[in-house]
């Protein structure tokens, strides 16, 4: 164990050996399933028939990313015992609340590859590009954030520089994802989720007992390290500053993220519910559990190294655990960022393959070989772009929170388009742009939230609360209960919100985005004479080439080192 105040180092050799073990293992898995000629549809959705074990592991691994672990620890340290709940629970519900809509989307477009592709079939090019554009923005930012987290942890636990760290991480992820795309991403997710969850099971109790066990709580209170608000499980401070903005983002992240949509299209249709429920529990338990390290740091009176709360997790692990467990924590962090980064690469490649190349030449004329090549080039370009952004001085997490709120403009128009025949392309496009036009000045306080403008924003925010809760209820219970829930929520929030919500511009920005997109989309659609036939979507979307499994079974590459060719169907 290191002396007090020092963080255990793994050294260059230690870090390189761990990275070689991790990326060597994932590369081996990728080679085992690789094919000389990858199927274009398999490259994007793995044949639409993935089983429960692989899909649940993949959804869990994809949603747990390095930033979620860091942010949960920060929430625990900042807001006390309820902090990790107000980070992890709402993040978990993003997965849960999408599955009812996912079942509907899958029913109307069983063989689609991206959500934007379905929007093209439903509305046309402008709606498709709006959704695809927001997906690309989110995935590039997420990819960048994961590279930054990797570079930072390598620089912290070894003498290697941040620049060397991001290059190693980017190279490792690209290496095992490039050839087989989504299939490699999904299969390696299983190994990564075992590493992550296994590490969490060991590390959380180990830090707890090695840092003093239950006595840390009484000692922390006596030393004045925690405030009564931080001791409370029902902290209003934690709810308003951490929880509420995330509740508003629950649906936005689910709709705006192609990594979720890709798994919705990939898993066997009857396994959508168990997959997403399991991933909800897996994500929530892991992220909230790791957040307990922040709660412990608070009670122990730990000061973040360099005053940066992002250092708290490696600091707690490196201070209290022996080197073997520090290595395990390192693998947990590398696993979390790699599993999300490979999913982002797969998401980006499928968007460019389907929504740019596939739609520009037409499904019948698309050349599957060219398509796979475009997917691979996209991955290389995206990796280079993320490396560039990682070395620039952007605040990536702030950017991602901003994009998450931006996605709020899309939620109602996208969801309504899958259920309501009357929603037109004009209603979709105008409602999203109108919501953007109101969201931006509120989010960045371009005009002070006072007087009449402040009142308008608060009224829209109150409507936004009703819209968010109404859509959530709609997914599970249908239209009538959703209208009742939305109406009750709006009326109940009215006296509470007026004169109060204007103090929370991040939350208000998200809520007005929901409200404006709902009001404009509804008012433009309710009188529309369009009677859209949802069967059209299935005709417009679909496979770009023949049966995935038939191609794969006949064309496997044997694992490296195998003396005999692998049998068909390996």
């Amino acid at each position: 164990m290191p002396p007090a105040g020092e963080i255990a180092q793994l050294g260059i050799i230690g870090v390189l050996l761990l990275l070689l073990l991790f990326y060597g293992g994932t590369m081996w898995m990728s080679v085992v399933i690789s094919r000389r000629k990858e199927n274009a549809d398999g490259y994007m959705t793995a044949g639409n028939t993935i089983g429960f074990g692989i899909s649940a592991a993949s959804m869990t691994a994809t949603w747990i990313w390095a930033s979620s672990l860091y942010a949960s620890v920060t929430a625990g340290y900042t807001y006390g015992v309820s902090g990790p709940i107000h980070y992890g629970l709402w993040g978990a519900l993003m997965i849960l609340f999408i599955y009812p809509f996912g079942k509907r989307i899958r029913a109307v477009a069983p063989k689609a590859h991206t959500l934007a592709e379905v929007m093209y079939a439903r509305h046309g090019r402008s709606s498709q590009l709006m959704l695809a554009g927001s997906n690309v923005l989110g995935s590039v930012i997420s990819l960048t954030s994961n590279f930054i987290a990797g570079g930072a942890i390598i620089a912290m636990l070894s003498p290697l520089s941040f620049g060397a760290g991001i290059l190693i991480i980017a190279g490792g992820v690209l290496m095992y994802t490039l050839w087989s795309g989504f299939r490699a991403s999904v299969l390696t997710d299983f190994a990564q989720v075992v590493a992550m969850l296994g590490a969490a099971v060991v590390i959380i109790p180990a830090v707890f007992f090695l840092a003093g066990g239950p006595s840390m709580f009484t000692a922390g209170v006596e030393a004045g390290n925690v405030t009564p608000e931080q001791e409370s499980f029902f902290s209003s401070d934690a709810f308003m500053n951490q929880g509420a903005p995330y509740i508003a983002a629950v649906l936005a992240y689910a709709i705006g993220n192609q990594t979720i949509a890709q798994r919705l299209f990939a898993v066997r249709e009857d396994l959508i519910k168990p997959t997403f429920v399991t991933a909800t529990v897996g994500y929530g338990a892991t992220v909230i559990g790791v957040g307990m390290l922040g709660v412990m740091a608070l009670y122990l009176g730990v000061e973040p190294a360099g005053g940066d709360v992002n250092n708290l997790m490696p600091q707690m692990v490196g201070t209290y655990l022996p080197v073997v467990l520090v290595a395990l924590a390192f693998i947990m962090i590398v696993g979390s960022l790699s599993s999300t980064a490979d999913s982002d690469l797969s998401a980006l490649s499928s968007i460019v393959m389907t929504d740019i190349y596939g739609q520009s030449v037409g499904r019948e004329k698309a050349n599957p070989r060219v398509m796979v090549l475009i997917g691979r080039i996209t991955m290389i370009v995206a990796t280079a772009a993320a490396l560039f952004f990682a070395t620039a001085q952007f605040n990536i997490l702030d950017l991602l929170v901003f994009v998450g709120a931006l996605w709020g403009c899309l939620v109602f128009p996208v969801i309504a388009s899958f259920y309501w025949k009357k929603v037109t392309n004009a209603a979709f496009t105008v409602s999203v742009l109108a919501a953007l036009a109101v969201f931006l000045p509120v989010r960045f306080t371009l005009f002070p939230l006072t007087g009449a403008w402040g009142l308008v924003v608060e009224l829209l925010s109150v409507v936004g609360i009703g819209v968010v809760l109404g859509i959530m209820a709609f997914g599970f219970f249908g239209l009538r209960p959703a209208v009742i829930v939305g109406a009750i929520a709006t009326v109940a929030a009215l006296p509470l919100g007026l004169g109060y919500l204007r103090d929370f511009e991040t939350l208000s920005g998200s809520l007005v985005a929901y409200a404006v997109s709902f009001l404009v989309c509804y008012l433009m659609s309710v009188r529309s004479r369009q009677d859209f036939d949802f069967a059209v979507i299935q005709q417009v979307t679909g496979d770009f080439e023949g049966d995935d499994e038939a191609v794969g079974a006949a064309d496997e590459i044997p694992p490296t080192g195998a003396a005999e060719p692998a049998p068909a169907g390996r």
Binding site: G53, V81, V193, V194, L197, G198, F208, T218, G282, A285
Partner: protein, 32 residues
């Protein structure tokens, strides 16, 4: 309060272990 906080901290790794066993079992089943 100490007992409650201890249980609160330690319940999460137990829950994670449950998910890990579920996913691993299902994965093995998928492969077989």
């Amino acid at each position: 309060m100490t007992a409650l906080l201890t249980a609160y901290v330690l319940m999460w790794p137990v829950l994670v272990l449950g998910v890990l066993v579920t996913i691993t079992g299902a994965f093995v089943k998928d492969v077989r």
